[in-house]
Structure formats: structure tokens, C-alpha cells
């Protein structure tokens, strides 16, 4: 129910704050999505879409941290050590 799917903005139709609509591609399947809550998002950005509404843009630099964290711990250093 709280599923949200990442998709790429292909087109934006400017409307007022609540009717800002975009066409978003989910691996090639394109759907109309309400973009009212991601006013900063532009074409080419990835957004997380839930119930026809984009609930946030994906922070692409942060998307790698799952692997960076793994690299850090697998390399022998335990994260959080620096904070102790």
C-alpha cells in the first residue's frame, strides 16, 4: 500500500501548484503523474510515485550510499566508529 515506484520525468505540463502534471516513464511504461509536491523537479529527474502523485525526487548522489556503506564495513571498518 505504501509502495512507491521510481520513474523518470519525460515531460512536464505547467499548471497551478496542484495541477502540475508530468509524464513519467517507469522502465518504458509512461503514466501521467501529479508533480505538485516536487516543484523543484525538472525533466530527466527521477521521482518516487505513489497513488499517482510524486512524493519526492530521488537524490541521485545518495543512491550510492548503500554500496559505499557496504564497502566501508566489508573493508573492515565498522560505520559509526568515528562517532564513538
Amino acid at each position: 500500500m505504501c509502495l512507491a515506484v521510481p520513474g523518470k520525468i519525460m515531460q512536464i505540463t505547467e499548471g497551478d501548484a496542484i495541477t502540475r502534471i508530468g509524464r513519467v516513464s517507469f522502465g518504458g511504461i509512461v503514466r501521467e503523474v501529479n508533480l505538485a509536491f516536487v516543484p523543484e523537479a525538472v525533466m530527466g529527474d527521477y521521482v518516487l510515485v505513489h497513488a499517482g502523485v510524486a512524493i519526492n525526487a530521488i537524490d541521485e548522489p545518495e543512491a550510492k550510499q548503500v554500496f559505499e556503506y557496504l564497502q566501508e564495513i566489508y573493508g573492515g571498518d565498522i560505520p559509526g566508529d568515528a562517532e564513538r
Binding site: 500500500m1 505504501c2 509502495l3 512507491a4 515506484v5 521510481p6 523518470k8 501548484a17 496542484i18 495541477t19 517507469f26 522502465g27 501529479n34 505538485a36 509536491f37 516536487v38 516543484p39 527521477y46 518516487l48 505513489h50 497513488a51 499517482g52 502523485v53 512524493i55 519526492n56 530521488i58 537524490d59 541521485e60 545518495e62 543512491a63 550510499q65 548503500v66 554500496f67 556503506y69 557496504l70 564495513i73 566489508y74 565498522i78 560505520p79 559509526g80 564513538r84
Partner: protein, 373 residues
């Protein structure tokens, strides 16, 4: 698909599982809040990859499961009216009220429609001005912005034949309810990633501090969940208890401010009855008085619901992490997805449905299913 497939890499999954085993020295019990996480854990067998010392309990984060039978009875009463087009997310249609479900109303000729977005329901109202369109607004904080946008749009455009039956619920009061139980054995939480995408995680910081419990905001893919567990276990092993964010590609501490602003304009906090759990103070959202004419409970005269018949279903205990689906004597025998006794077997995110679909080994008496939810 980008931002999904890379978080399912089997080698990275194995390494995370190894690392969790390496740092775990004591027994820890952790709850994932969200039904989407439960589904991912059971489907991918992530719990089976963890050391025996770590127990995962499944939480109440399935809005379909916690919507009260009384609220479903109201939905059924509205859907049965000749002048109503009743719109709902598909998951809700098969959940039993006190006597029947919405799908049976549809089978009897009721105009019950499944929608993907609440905004679609408003468009149905625009195209059917001679009918009254009701949308069943269920969901946690993740869904609240979409529901708020729909009713805001209807008010802006003067679409007066649209209304919402609001059954919105909030996560933090449910976490506190679980933590306040005298027999609570939880030591850590994976907070629900998409709820926090909307709300941020500052509101969890006082809970982590008050109950001395680590809370890690966690995503939904296998690597997200294993990293969330690793971060939680590491805090526990170190004796720390604070809020951390595993799902930083989608979640910021402040959350989505435009979404929160519209939610605050449209909704106010109310006490809410949770199915199987009971009344939780300030755990729900209802429409503000300015939206009264879009509130189905205000604009329709709905008959009082029948009292719920309490059978052998233990979904209330399952939703609070006090029992597992396999603990239930009816599981897979008298209770199946085709003939569910409770909502946790109906919803694709219910813990019982996930165990039924993916855990044949633990329950040899049930037949394998080919269908995936």
C-alpha cells in the same frame, strides 16, 4: 528498472548478511513497521539469512489491515446506494467488514470502481455530475498527500458531487502504543521509508530518546532492508538509541514540506480505531471543517454499523508483533487468501498473505501457490 534492480544484487545481499552475522553478539528483536517491508523480507527470505540471534517481528504498517470493520461497514453502506459511484484502492475491496466486503456489493450490482489514484476519483466525479462519487481515503502518511490533493482539487474546481470517507492513520502513535505494552520485547525499529519520505523523521527522535530504542528509516529493496538491520544491530551492540536514515536517496530529515503543508491545510488529527488493536489517541487524520461538504460522513446519513463478530482471527496480535502468522491455528487451513478470516490474509502486504505465498516450508499443510501478489 533504475533505482530498483541495483538494490537486489545477490552478491551484495550476501555480503550484508555476512556483516550482520559478524557484528551480532547478543539476541535482538527488531520490528519492521511497514507491510511493504514485511512482504520484501518474506518474499526474498531475508529473515532466513540473518543469524538466529536476530528476530524480526512484523508491524502494523498495512493500512488495509488496520482499517476498522466499522469503517468498512460505512463504505459498504455508501457503495450500496443507487446514487453513488464508490471508488477505492483495489486492496480494500476484499477486506471483510463485520459481515461482507465491497466486492460483494459490486457483485450485487453496486457501482464500485477500483482506482489507481484518488485524483482519478475526482475526474470520475467531473464526468458524472448526476451521480455522487465517494472515495475511500485509506492510507498512512505516504498516501495522505495524494488524498489531500484530490479533495483540494475538488474544492478548487467546485466539484461538489465528490466526497471522501476518510480512514487515514498515522505511524508514530502506533509505535508508541506498541512500545507501551507491558510485555513489549522490541529493541529496535525499521521505520517505514515512504512514510518518512513525506513526513521526515524528526518526529521519531523523541520516541527513540524516550524509549531508549534505535529507529532506522529504511527502504524496501533487499539491500535497503539489510542495511537498515545492520545499522539497527550496530546501534544495539554499541548501546546507542537514536534515529538514523538508511533511505537517504528518498528521505530527508524535514520530509516533503509542500506535501506536509497541503496535508495540514486539509486534515486535522483525530483519535482513530485500529482493527484488532483498538482506539489510539491522535492516530488518525480527518477533514478539517472547511472541507465538511467533501466529508462523506457529514454529507451522507450512514446507518450505524453492525458490531464486529470476533472469531478466531489473531490479526490484532500479529499487527502488534506479538504473534507470527505461523502461530495461528487457522493459518493455511480455515484461513487462506481465497477464504480469509482477517485482513492480514487479504492484503498483499498483510503478514499472513506474505507467509502464505512464500513460506510453504514452515507450514507443510498448505498448498504451494503460483500467484504472486
Amino acid at each position: 528498472m533504475k533505482f530498483i534492480d541495483e538494490y537486489r544484487d545477490p552478491e551484495a545481499v550476501r555480503r550484508y548478511a555476512d556483516e550482520i552475522a559478524r557484528i551480532t553478539t547478543r539476541s535482538w528483536t527488531i520490528m519492521e513497521i511497514c507491510g511493504g517491508q514485511t512482504h520484501s523480507i518474506v518474499k526474498n527470505g531475508l529473515d532466513c539469512m540473518l543469524p538466529d540471534k536476530i528476530t524480526l517481528l512484523h508491524g502494523p504498517g498495512c493500512p488495509v489491515c488496520v482499517t476498522s470493520a466499522a469503517m468498512i461497514d460505512k463504505a459498504i453502506a455508501l457503495a450500496s446506494r443507487d446514487d453513488v459511484i464508490f471508488c477505492s484502492f483495489g486492496d480494500m475491496l476484499r477486506v471483510p467488514g463485520s459481515r461482507r466486503d465491497l466486492l460483494s456489493v459490486k457483485a450485487d450490482g453496486g457501482d464500485v470502481r477500483m482506482v489507481y489514484s484518488p485524483i482519478d476519483a475526482v475526474h470520475i466525479a467531473e464526468k458524472n455530475l448526476d451521480r455522487r462519487v465517494v472515495f475511500f481515503a485509506i492510507g498512512f502518511e505516504t498516501t495522505a498527500p495524494a488524498n489531500a490533493a484530490a479533495v483540494y482539487y475538488a474544492r478548487q474546481k467546485g466539484i461538489d458531487n465528490f466526497s471522501m470517507l476518510v480512514a487515514q492513520v498515522l505511524v508514530p502513535p502506533a509505535i508508541e502504543k506498541i512500545l507501551n505494552a507491558p510485555d513489549c520485547r522490541l529493541q529496535g525499529f525499521l521505520a517505514a521509508g515512504h512514510v518518512c519520505t513525506v513526513m521526515g523523521y524528526a518526529e521519531y527522535e523523541p520516541i527513540a530518546e524516550k524509549y531508549r530504542i534505535p529507529i532506522v528509516v529504511t527502504g524496501f529493496e533487499p539491500l535497503d532492508i539489510l542495511q537498515g538491520i545492520h545499522m539497527t544491530v550496530w546501534q544495539l551492540e554499541q548501546g546507542r538509541a537514536r534515529v538514523e536514515n538508511q533511505y537517504s536517496r528518498a528521505v530527508k530529515r524535514a520530509g516533503n514540506l509542500p506535501a506536509q503543508k497541503l496535508m495540514a491545510d486539509v486534515f486535522e488529527t483525530v483519535d482513530r480505531e485500529w482493527r484488532g488493536i483498538g482506539l489510539i489517541p491522535k492516530s488518525g487524520l480527518a477533514l478539517r471543517p472547511a472541507y465538511r461538504k467533501f466529508d462523506s460522513e457529514a454529507v451522507f446519513d450512514i446507518a450505524a454499523p453492525d458490531p464486529e463478530i470476533v472469531g478466531e482471527c489473531i490479526s490484532g496480535l500479529i499487527l502488534q508483533g506479538r504473534q507470527k502468522p505461523s502461530d495461528c491455528p487457522a493459518f493455511g487451513k480455515r484461513c487462506t487468501p481465497e477464504h480469509p478470516l482477517g485482513a492480514t490474509m487479504v492484503s498483499s502486504e498483510g503478514a499472513c498473505a506474505a507467509y502464505y505465498a512464500y513460506r510453504q516450508k514452515e507450514s507443510p499443510h498448505i498448498k504451494p501457490t503460483s500467484g504472486k501478489h
